[in-house]
Protein backbone atom coordinates (compact mmCIF):
# COMPACT_ATOMS: atom_id res chain seq x y z
CA UNK A 1 0.00 0.00 0.00
CA UNK A 2 2.82 2.41 0.87
CA UNK A 3 4.87 1.55 -2.21
CA UNK A 4 1.75 1.72 -4.38
CA UNK A 5 1.07 5.22 -3.06
CA UNK A 6 4.66 6.27 -3.72
CA UNK A 7 4.46 4.89 -7.30
CA UNK A 8 1.71 7.40 -8.10
CA UNK A 9 4.12 10.28 -7.47
CA UNK A 10 6.66 11.85 -9.79
CA UNK A 11 9.81 9.67 -9.61
CA UNK A 12 12.03 12.51 -8.46
CA UNK A 13 9.57 13.92 -5.91
CA UNK A 14 11.04 14.00 -2.39
CA UNK A 15 9.52 11.29 -0.19
CA UNK A 16 11.79 11.42 2.85
CA UNK A 17 14.08 14.08 4.28
CA UNK A 18 16.64 13.31 6.95
CA UNK A 19 19.52 15.49 8.10
CA UNK A 20 20.16 17.09 4.73
CA UNK A 21 19.51 13.92 2.69
CA UNK A 22 16.57 13.77 0.32
CA UNK A 23 15.20 10.37 -0.68
CA UNK A 24 13.06 10.53 -3.83
CA UNK A 25 10.02 8.32 -4.33
CA UNK A 26 11.91 6.36 -6.99
CA UNK A 27 14.42 5.17 -4.37
CA UNK A 28 11.75 3.53 -2.23
CA UNK A 29 10.64 0.68 -4.47
CA UNK A 30 12.67 -2.13 -2.85
CA UNK A 31 10.74 -4.89 -1.17
CA UNK A 32 11.91 -7.04 1.69
CA UNK A 33 10.72 -10.52 2.33
CA UNK A 34 9.71 -11.21 5.82
CA UNK A 35 7.72 -13.88 7.55
CA UNK A 36 7.30 -12.55 11.01
CA UNK A 37 9.92 -9.92 11.70
CA UNK A 38 10.63 -7.48 14.49
CA UNK A 39 12.25 -4.11 13.75
CA UNK A 40 14.55 -2.55 16.34
CA UNK A 41 16.29 0.17 14.36
CA UNK A 42 17.58 3.37 15.94
CA UNK A 43 18.20 5.18 12.69
CA UNK A 44 14.88 6.77 11.64
CA UNK A 45 15.73 6.64 7.94
CA UNK A 46 16.57 2.92 8.11
CA UNK A 47 13.35 2.30 10.05
CA UNK A 48 11.16 4.24 7.59
CA UNK A 49 12.75 2.40 4.64
CA UNK A 50 12.23 -0.97 6.34
CA UNK A 51 8.56 -0.22 7.04
CA UNK A 52 8.01 0.76 3.41
CA UNK A 53 9.85 -2.33 2.13
CA UNK A 54 7.96 -4.74 4.42
CA UNK A 55 4.45 -3.34 3.99
CA UNK A 56 2.32 -5.76 1.99
CA UNK A 57 5.04 -8.40 1.86
CA UNK A 58 5.80 -9.45 5.46
CA UNK A 59 3.22 -11.53 7.28
CA UNK A 60 3.71 -9.68 10.53
CA UNK A 61 5.92 -6.81 11.66
CA UNK A 62 6.54 -6.05 15.33
CA UNK A 63 7.72 -2.47 15.83
CA UNK A 64 10.01 -2.36 18.84
CA UNK A 65 10.78 0.82 20.76
CA UNK A 66 14.02 0.98 22.73
CA UNK A 67 13.31 -1.59 25.43
CA UNK A 68 15.46 -3.81 27.66
CA UNK A 69 16.75 -6.96 25.96
CA UNK A 70 14.67 -9.32 28.10
CA UNK A 71 11.49 -7.35 27.35
CA UNK A 72 12.25 -7.56 23.64
CA UNK A 73 12.67 -11.34 23.95
CA UNK A 74 9.32 -11.64 25.77
CA UNK A 75 7.49 -9.52 23.22
CA UNK A 76 9.03 -11.41 20.30
CA UNK A 77 7.89 -14.71 21.78
CA UNK A 78 4.37 -13.36 22.34
CA UNK A 79 4.16 -12.15 18.76
CA UNK A 80 5.65 -15.36 17.34
CA UNK A 81 8.49 -13.47 15.66
CA UNK A 82 11.12 -15.41 13.67
CA UNK A 83 13.67 -12.71 12.97
CA UNK A 84 14.89 -9.62 14.81
CA UNK A 85 16.22 -6.88 12.54
CA UNK A 86 18.73 -4.61 14.28
CA UNK A 87 20.43 -3.36 11.15
CA UNK A 88 18.84 -2.74 7.77
CA UNK A 89 21.46 -5.03 6.14
CA UNK A 90 19.72 -7.93 7.88
CA UNK A 91 16.58 -7.48 5.78
CA UNK A 92 16.21 -10.14 3.10
CA UNK A 93 15.32 -8.98 -0.38
CA UNK A 94 12.27 -10.71 -1.77
CA UNK A 95 8.62 -10.27 -2.30
CA UNK A 96 5.25 -11.67 -1.54
CA UNK A 97 1.82 -10.14 -1.74
CA UNK A 98 -0.20 -10.24 1.43
CA UNK A 99 -1.71 -7.89 3.96
CA UNK A 100 0.80 -7.21 6.72
CA UNK A 101 -0.14 -7.26 10.39
CA UNK A 102 1.45 -4.42 12.31
CA UNK A 103 2.08 -5.19 15.97
CA UNK A 104 2.44 -2.22 18.28
CA UNK A 105 3.38 -2.15 21.95
CA UNK A 106 1.27 -0.20 24.41
CA UNK A 107 3.20 2.51 26.21
CA UNK A 108 2.46 1.44 29.77
CA UNK A 109 4.97 2.70 32.31
CA UNK A 110 5.06 -0.41 34.45
CA UNK A 111 5.77 -4.00 33.52
CA UNK A 112 6.00 -5.51 30.07
CA UNK A 113 4.06 -3.60 27.39
CA UNK A 114 1.10 -5.36 25.80
CA UNK A 115 0.88 -6.01 22.10
CA UNK A 116 -1.97 -4.88 19.89
CA UNK A 117 -2.46 -6.17 16.36
CA UNK A 118 -3.35 -3.68 13.65
CA UNK A 119 -3.87 -3.96 9.94
CA UNK A 120 -3.21 -1.10 7.59
CA UNK A 121 -6.97 -0.36 7.48
CA UNK A 122 -7.15 0.17 11.25
CA UNK A 123 -4.10 2.40 11.16
CA UNK A 124 -5.26 4.50 8.24
CA UNK A 125 -8.97 4.94 8.82
CA UNK A 126 -8.54 8.62 9.66
CA UNK A 127 -6.16 9.28 6.78
CA UNK A 128 -7.50 10.65 3.53
CA UNK A 129 -5.40 9.27 0.72
CA UNK A 130 -4.29 11.79 -1.82
CA UNK A 131 -2.09 12.11 -4.86
CA UNK A 132 1.17 14.03 -4.81
CA UNK A 133 0.89 17.34 -2.94
CA UNK A 134 3.91 19.37 -3.94
CA UNK A 135 5.40 21.21 -0.97
CA UNK A 136 3.33 19.53 1.72
CA UNK A 137 5.80 18.22 4.30
CA UNK A 138 5.04 16.43 7.54
CA UNK A 139 7.59 16.57 10.32
CA UNK A 140 8.08 13.58 12.58
CA UNK A 141 8.74 14.21 16.27
CA UNK A 142 7.22 10.97 17.53
CA UNK A 143 8.92 7.59 17.69
CA UNK A 144 7.86 5.70 14.54
CA UNK A 145 7.54 2.47 16.50
CA UNK A 146 4.68 4.00 18.48
CA UNK A 147 1.12 4.33 17.29
CA UNK A 148 1.32 8.12 16.96
CA UNK A 149 4.59 8.04 15.03
CA UNK A 150 3.40 5.34 12.64
CA UNK A 151 0.28 7.46 12.05
CA UNK A 152 2.42 10.41 10.96
CA UNK A 153 4.43 8.24 8.56
CA UNK A 154 1.26 6.81 7.03
CA UNK A 155 -0.44 10.21 6.88
CA UNK A 156 2.51 11.71 5.02
CA UNK A 157 3.11 8.90 2.55
CA UNK A 158 -0.53 8.00 1.82
CA UNK A 159 -1.64 11.62 1.89
CA UNK A 160 0.74 12.65 -0.89
CA UNK A 161 3.17 14.57 1.31
CA UNK A 162 6.87 14.28 2.08
CA UNK A 163 8.07 13.19 5.51
CA UNK A 164 10.87 14.90 7.44
CA UNK A 165 12.50 12.52 9.90
CA UNK A 166 14.25 13.61 13.08
CA UNK A 167 16.10 11.70 15.76
CA UNK A 168 14.45 11.35 19.15
CA UNK A 169 17.71 11.68 21.08
CA UNK A 170 18.74 14.94 19.40
CA UNK A 171 18.03 18.14 21.39
CA UNK A 172 14.74 19.75 20.48
CA UNK A 173 16.28 22.98 19.06
CA UNK A 174 18.28 20.88 16.59
CA UNK A 175 15.22 18.88 15.57
CA UNK A 176 13.28 22.11 15.09
CA UNK A 177 16.11 23.54 12.99
CA UNK A 178 16.08 20.42 10.79
CA UNK A 179 12.30 20.66 10.36
CA UNK A 180 12.58 24.34 9.43
CA UNK A 181 15.45 23.62 7.03
CA UNK A 182 13.36 21.00 5.20
CA UNK A 183 10.30 23.27 5.03
CA UNK A 184 7.97 21.50 7.45
CA UNK A 185 4.33 22.50 6.85
CA UNK A 186 2.56 19.95 9.05
CA UNK A 187 3.46 18.68 12.49
CA UNK A 188 1.93 16.33 15.03
CA UNK A 189 2.86 16.35 18.73
CA UNK A 190 1.44 15.98 22.21
CA UNK A 191 0.16 19.14 23.94
CA UNK A 192 3.23 19.00 26.24
CA UNK A 193 5.57 18.87 23.29
CA UNK A 194 3.70 21.74 21.59
CA UNK A 195 4.13 23.84 24.73
CA UNK A 196 7.85 23.02 24.69
CA UNK A 197 8.00 23.94 21.01
CA UNK A 198 6.52 27.33 21.80
CA UNK A 199 9.42 27.90 24.19
CA UNK A 200 12.03 26.77 21.67
CA UNK A 201 13.72 29.47 19.60
CA UNK A 202 13.27 28.88 15.88
CA UNK A 203 9.95 27.05 16.19
CA UNK A 204 8.18 30.31 15.32
CA UNK A 205 9.71 30.16 11.84
CA UNK A 206 8.04 26.85 10.90
CA UNK A 207 5.65 27.55 8.01
CA UNK A 208 2.92 25.38 9.51
CA UNK A 209 -0.39 24.87 7.76
CA UNK A 210 -1.42 21.83 9.78
CA UNK A 211 -1.04 21.34 13.53
CA UNK A 212 -2.10 18.03 15.02
CA UNK A 213 -2.32 17.30 18.74
CA UNK A 214 -2.93 14.02 20.50
CA UNK A 215 -1.99 11.72 23.34
CA UNK A 216 -3.08 13.95 26.22
CA UNK A 217 -6.02 16.16 27.06
CA UNK A 218 -6.01 19.15 24.73
CA UNK A 219 -6.97 22.31 26.59
CA UNK A 220 -8.47 25.48 25.20
CA UNK A 221 -5.50 27.64 26.31
CA UNK A 222 -2.98 25.61 24.34
CA UNK A 223 -5.24 25.63 21.28
CA UNK A 224 -5.63 29.40 21.35
CA UNK A 225 -1.90 29.93 21.96
CA UNK A 226 -1.12 27.74 18.93
CA UNK A 227 -3.64 29.64 16.87
CA UNK A 228 -2.01 32.97 17.76
CA UNK A 229 1.45 31.63 17.00
CA UNK A 230 0.50 29.92 13.72
CA UNK A 231 -2.57 31.83 12.52
CA UNK A 232 -2.89 30.12 9.14
CA UNK A 233 -2.54 26.57 10.44
CA UNK A 234 -5.49 24.25 10.74
CA UNK A 235 -5.69 22.80 14.26
CA UNK A 236 -6.68 19.16 14.61
CA UNK A 237 -6.78 17.16 17.76
CA UNK A 238 -6.96 13.43 17.54
CA UNK A 239 -8.36 10.98 20.00
CA UNK A 240 -6.48 7.74 19.63
CA UNK A 241 -4.92 5.00 21.66
CA UNK A 242 -3.04 1.84 20.80
CA UNK A 243 -6.08 -0.21 21.86
CA UNK A 244 -8.85 1.92 20.35
CA UNK A 245 -6.89 2.88 17.26
CA UNK A 246 -7.45 6.32 15.76
CA UNK A 247 -10.99 7.01 16.93
CA UNK A 248 -11.88 10.53 15.86
CA UNK A 249 -10.52 13.99 15.22
CA UNK A 250 -11.75 17.46 16.08
CA UNK A 251 -10.97 20.42 13.83
CA UNK A 252 -13.08 23.29 15.17
CA UNK A 253 -10.27 24.63 17.36
CA UNK A 254 -12.17 23.99 20.60
CA UNK A 255 -11.30 21.65 23.47
CA UNK A 256 -13.27 18.41 23.89
CA UNK A 257 -15.45 17.05 21.07
CA UNK A 258 -18.97 17.68 19.77
CA UNK A 259 -21.65 15.72 21.66
CA UNK A 260 -23.27 14.79 18.33
CA UNK A 261 -20.35 12.36 17.80
CA UNK A 262 -22.08 10.17 20.39
CA UNK A 263 -25.05 9.63 18.09
CA UNK A 264 -23.40 10.21 14.75
CA UNK A 265 -19.82 9.05 15.19
CA UNK A 266 -17.33 9.74 12.44
CA UNK A 267 -16.30 7.07 9.95
CA UNK A 268 -17.30 3.64 11.15
CA UNK A 269 -16.60 3.80 14.88
CA UNK A 270 -19.06 3.98 17.75
CA UNK A 271 -18.77 6.04 20.92
CA UNK A 272 -20.59 5.62 24.20
CA UNK A 273 -20.42 7.14 27.65
CA UNK A 274 -20.90 4.66 30.47
CA UNK A 275 -20.40 5.55 34.13
CA UNK A 276 -18.91 8.86 32.98
CA UNK A 277 -16.21 7.11 30.96
CA UNK A 278 -15.68 7.13 27.22
CA UNK A 279 -16.03 3.82 25.40
CA UNK A 280 -14.93 3.36 21.79
CA UNK A 281 -15.77 0.61 19.34
CA UNK A 282 -13.37 0.37 16.45
CA UNK A 283 -14.19 -2.84 14.55
CA UNK A 284 -10.90 -2.72 12.70
CA UNK A 285 -8.75 -3.32 15.79
CA UNK A 286 -8.28 -6.87 17.07
CA UNK A 287 -9.96 -6.69 20.49
CA UNK A 288 -7.45 -8.79 22.43
CA UNK A 289 -3.80 -8.37 23.33
CA UNK A 290 -1.57 -10.59 21.25
CA UNK A 291 -0.28 -13.61 23.11
CA UNK A 292 -2.72 -13.13 25.95
CA UNK A 293 -6.22 -14.20 26.80
CA UNK A 294 -7.34 -10.82 28.00
CA UNK A 295 -9.84 -9.07 25.76
CA UNK A 296 -9.80 -5.34 26.18
CA UNK A 297 -13.12 -4.97 24.38
CA UNK A 298 -16.48 -6.11 25.77
CA UNK A 299 -18.96 -8.43 24.01
CA UNK A 300 -20.24 -5.57 21.84
CA UNK A 301 -16.72 -4.58 20.88
CA UNK A 302 -16.51 -1.47 23.05
CA UNK A 303 -13.16 -0.61 24.62
CA UNK A 304 -13.15 1.19 27.96
CA UNK A 305 -10.73 4.06 27.39
CA UNK A 306 -10.50 4.85 31.11
CA UNK A 307 -10.92 8.52 30.26
CA UNK A 308 -13.50 10.36 32.36
CA UNK A 309 -15.71 12.72 30.38
CA UNK A 310 -18.19 15.46 31.25
CA UNK A 311 -20.97 16.49 28.89
CA UNK A 312 -21.62 20.24 28.99
CA UNK A 313 -24.31 21.37 26.57
CA UNK A 314 -23.35 20.17 23.10
CA UNK A 315 -19.75 19.46 24.02
CA UNK A 316 -17.98 16.51 25.65
CA UNK A 317 -14.89 17.43 27.69
CA UNK A 318 -12.17 15.15 29.04
CA UNK A 319 -11.72 15.26 32.80
CA UNK A 320 -8.71 13.07 33.46
CA UNK A 321 -8.23 9.37 34.04
CA UNK A 322 -10.90 7.36 35.76
CA UNK A 323 -8.29 5.40 37.72
CA UNK A 324 -6.84 8.62 39.16
CA UNK A 325 -3.78 8.24 36.95
CA UNK A 326 -1.78 11.45 36.73
CA UNK A 327 -0.45 12.39 33.29
CA UNK A 328 2.90 14.16 33.57
CA UNK A 329 3.78 15.27 30.07
CA UNK A 330 2.39 12.07 28.56
CA UNK A 331 3.85 9.78 31.26
CA UNK A 332 1.29 8.02 33.40
CA UNK A 333 1.75 8.00 37.16
CA UNK A 334 -0.35 5.88 39.50
CA UNK A 335 -0.77 7.82 42.76
CA UNK A 336 -0.80 4.56 44.71
CA UNK A 337 2.73 3.70 43.56
CA UNK A 338 4.08 7.05 44.74
CA UNK A 339 2.14 6.86 48.00
CA UNK A 340 3.63 3.44 48.71
CA UNK A 341 7.15 4.84 48.27
CA UNK A 342 6.37 7.82 50.52
CA UNK A 343 4.93 5.55 53.20
CA UNK A 344 8.11 3.45 53.17
CA UNK A 345 9.97 6.48 54.56
CA UNK A 346 10.33 5.95 58.33
CA UNK A 347 9.13 9.47 59.25
CA UNK A 348 5.98 9.43 57.12
CA UNK A 349 2.68 8.45 58.77
CA UNK A 350 0.21 9.26 55.99
CA UNK A 351 0.66 10.29 52.40
CA UNK A 352 -1.68 11.50 49.73
CA UNK A 353 -0.51 12.04 46.16
CA UNK A 354 -2.51 14.18 43.79
CA UNK A 355 -2.22 16.04 40.50
CA UNK A 356 -1.43 19.72 40.25
CA UNK A 357 -2.24 21.54 37.05
CA UNK A 358 0.88 22.69 35.25
CA UNK A 359 1.39 24.96 32.22
CA UNK A 360 4.14 22.77 30.72
CA UNK A 361 3.53 19.14 31.54
CA UNK A 362 -0.26 19.41 31.90
CA UNK A 363 -0.09 17.89 35.36
CA UNK A 364 2.52 17.33 38.05
CA UNK A 365 2.66 15.05 41.08
CA UNK A 366 2.34 16.73 44.48
CA UNK A 367 2.24 15.06 47.89
CA UNK A 368 0.66 15.87 51.24
CA UNK A 369 2.46 14.20 54.09
CA UNK A 370 1.45 13.71 57.69
CA UNK A 371 4.75 13.21 59.53
CA UNK A 372 5.16 10.48 62.13
CA UNK A 373 5.66 12.53 65.28
CA UNK A 374 6.61 16.20 65.26
CA UNK A 375 9.43 16.90 62.84
CA UNK A 376 12.29 18.84 64.42
CA UNK A 377 13.29 20.43 61.13
CA UNK A 378 10.52 20.42 58.46
CA UNK A 379 12.91 21.45 55.67
CA UNK A 380 15.25 18.58 56.53
CA UNK A 381 12.34 16.12 56.53
CA UNK A 382 11.23 17.32 53.09
CA UNK A 383 14.77 16.93 51.76
CA UNK A 384 15.04 13.47 53.28
CA UNK A 385 11.77 12.44 51.61
CA UNK A 386 13.01 13.86 48.30
CA UNK A 387 16.20 11.81 48.50
CA UNK A 388 14.14 8.73 49.37
CA UNK A 389 11.87 9.25 46.33
CA UNK A 390 14.80 9.98 44.03
CA UNK A 391 16.26 6.57 44.85
CA UNK A 392 13.03 4.71 44.11
CA UNK A 393 11.03 6.61 41.49
CA UNK A 394 11.56 7.85 37.93
CA UNK A 395 11.92 11.66 37.84
CA UNK A 396 8.38 12.32 36.49
CA UNK A 397 6.89 10.23 39.34
CA UNK A 398 8.62 12.13 42.14
CA UNK A 399 6.48 14.70 43.95
CA UNK A 400 7.38 18.15 42.68
CA UNK A 401 6.11 19.58 45.91
CA UNK A 402 5.95 17.99 49.35
CA UNK A 403 3.62 19.67 51.81
CA UNK A 404 3.70 18.72 55.47
CA UNK A 405 0.18 18.77 56.87
CA UNK A 406 -1.39 17.94 60.22
CA UNK A 407 -4.06 15.64 58.83
CA UNK A 408 -5.57 14.29 55.61
CA UNK A 409 -9.25 14.19 54.68
CA UNK A 410 -10.42 10.63 54.68
CA UNK A 411 -13.61 10.14 52.68
CA UNK A 412 -16.72 8.39 54.02
CA UNK A 413 -15.53 5.19 52.34
CA UNK A 414 -12.44 5.25 54.51
CA UNK A 415 -10.35 5.85 51.39
CA UNK A 416 -8.15 8.84 50.85
CA UNK A 417 -10.08 11.54 49.11
CA UNK A 418 -8.33 12.23 45.81
CA UNK A 419 -10.02 15.51 45.13
CA UNK A 420 -8.18 18.47 46.55
CA UNK A 421 -9.06 22.07 45.89
CA UNK A 422 -7.01 23.26 42.93
CA UNK A 423 -5.97 19.78 41.94
CA UNK A 424 -8.41 19.40 39.06
CA UNK A 425 -6.75 18.85 35.74
Amino acid sequence: MLRAALRTRPLDSPALFYKGQTIPAAALTDTAYGGRVALRLDDPLALARAIIALDGTAERVLLLPDLPQETIATLMAQAGIDQLIRDSSELTAGHSDRPTEWILATSGTTGVPKLVRHIIASLTRMISASGWQEGQRWGLLYDMTRFAGLQVLLQALLGGASLILTRGDDPLPRRVAELAEAGCTALSATPTLWRKLMMTPGAETLPLQQITLGGEIVDADSLSALHRRYPVARLTHIYASTEAGAAFSVTDGQAGFPARYLDNPPKGIALAIREDRLFVRNPLVDPAYLGGEKHFADAEGFVDTGDSVIVTGDRVFFAGREDGCINVGGNKVHPEEVEAVLLSHPDVALARVSARRNPITGQLVVADIVPAGTPGDPAALRRSIEVHCAAMLAPFKRPALIRLVADLDIGASGKLSRTLPGSAS
Binding site: A225, N358, F396
Partner: protein, 86 residues
Amino acid sequence: MTPIRQTILETYAEVVESQSGSRPAAPEDDRVLLESGLDSLGFAILVTRLEEAFGFDPFVESDEAYYPVTFGDFIRFYEAHGARAG
Protein backbone atom coordinates in the same frame (compact mmCIF):
# COMPACT_ATOMS: atom_id res chain seq x y z
CA MET B 1 17.60 42.80 42.30
CA THR B 2 13.86 42.56 42.93
CA PRO B 3 12.63 40.11 45.59
CA ILE B 4 10.82 38.18 42.86
CA ARG B 5 14.01 37.78 40.83
CA GLN B 6 15.89 36.70 43.92
CA THR B 7 13.31 34.03 44.83
CA ILE B 8 13.22 32.75 41.24
CA LEU B 9 17.02 32.47 41.10
CA GLU B 10 17.17 30.63 44.43
CA THR B 11 14.35 28.26 43.53
CA TYR B 12 15.85 27.67 40.08
CA ALA B 13 19.18 26.71 41.70
CA GLU B 14 17.43 24.32 44.10
CA VAL B 15 15.53 22.56 41.31
CA VAL B 16 18.61 22.20 39.10
CA GLU B 17 20.62 20.94 42.05
CA SER B 18 17.98 18.34 42.93
CA GLN B 19 17.94 17.16 39.30
CA SER B 20 21.63 17.24 38.44
CA GLY B 21 23.36 17.11 41.82
CA SER B 22 25.30 20.33 41.34
CA ARG B 23 24.34 23.93 42.01
CA PRO B 24 24.27 26.04 38.86
CA ALA B 25 25.49 29.61 38.37
CA ALA B 26 22.75 32.20 37.90
CA PRO B 27 21.82 32.18 34.19
CA GLU B 28 22.04 35.30 32.04
CA ASP B 29 18.71 36.84 31.08
CA ASP B 30 19.15 35.95 27.42
CA ARG B 31 19.74 32.25 28.19
CA VAL B 32 17.13 30.00 26.54
CA LEU B 33 15.01 28.65 29.37
CA LEU B 34 14.99 25.03 28.21
CA GLU B 35 18.79 25.17 27.86
CA SER B 36 19.42 26.60 31.34
CA GLY B 37 19.90 23.21 32.95
CA LEU B 38 16.17 22.57 33.33
CA ASP B 39 14.29 20.11 31.16
CA SER B 40 10.55 20.51 30.75
CA LEU B 41 9.92 18.53 33.94
CA GLY B 42 12.37 20.72 35.86
CA PHE B 43 10.72 23.81 34.47
CA ALA B 44 7.30 22.45 35.51
CA ILE B 45 8.62 21.83 39.04
CA LEU B 46 10.06 25.36 39.19
CA VAL B 47 6.67 26.88 38.33
CA THR B 48 4.95 24.76 40.99
CA ARG B 49 7.45 25.71 43.70
CA LEU B 50 7.24 29.38 42.79
CA GLU B 51 3.48 29.20 43.16
CA GLU B 52 4.02 27.97 46.72
CA ALA B 53 6.51 30.78 47.35
CA PHE B 54 4.56 33.66 45.78
CA GLY B 55 1.00 32.48 46.23
CA PHE B 56 0.28 32.98 42.53
CA ASP B 57 0.92 31.21 39.25
CA PRO B 58 1.03 33.76 36.43
CA PHE B 59 0.65 30.99 33.83
CA VAL B 60 -2.71 29.97 35.24
CA GLU B 61 -3.85 33.48 36.08
CA SER B 62 -3.02 35.23 32.82
CA ASP B 63 -5.79 35.49 30.24
CA GLU B 64 -3.72 34.07 27.41
CA ALA B 65 -1.30 31.17 27.54
CA TYR B 66 2.26 32.55 27.60
CA TYR B 67 5.42 30.67 26.66
CA PRO B 68 8.64 32.37 27.76
CA VAL B 69 11.67 31.56 25.63
CA THR B 70 14.50 33.08 27.70
CA PHE B 71 15.20 33.19 31.42
CA GLY B 72 14.69 36.98 31.30
CA ASP B 73 11.22 36.52 29.71
CA PHE B 74 10.38 34.17 32.56
CA ILE B 75 11.47 36.55 35.34
CA ARG B 76 9.77 39.56 33.73
CA PHE B 77 6.53 37.57 33.44
CA TYR B 78 6.54 36.97 37.20
CA GLU B 79 7.58 40.56 37.96
CA ALA B 80 4.83 42.00 35.79
CA HIS B 81 2.27 39.73 37.37
CA GLY B 82 3.56 40.45 40.89
CA ALA B 83 3.30 44.20 40.22
CA ARG B 84 -0.29 43.83 38.97
CA ALA B 85 -1.24 41.61 41.89
CA GLY B 86 0.04 44.42 44.02
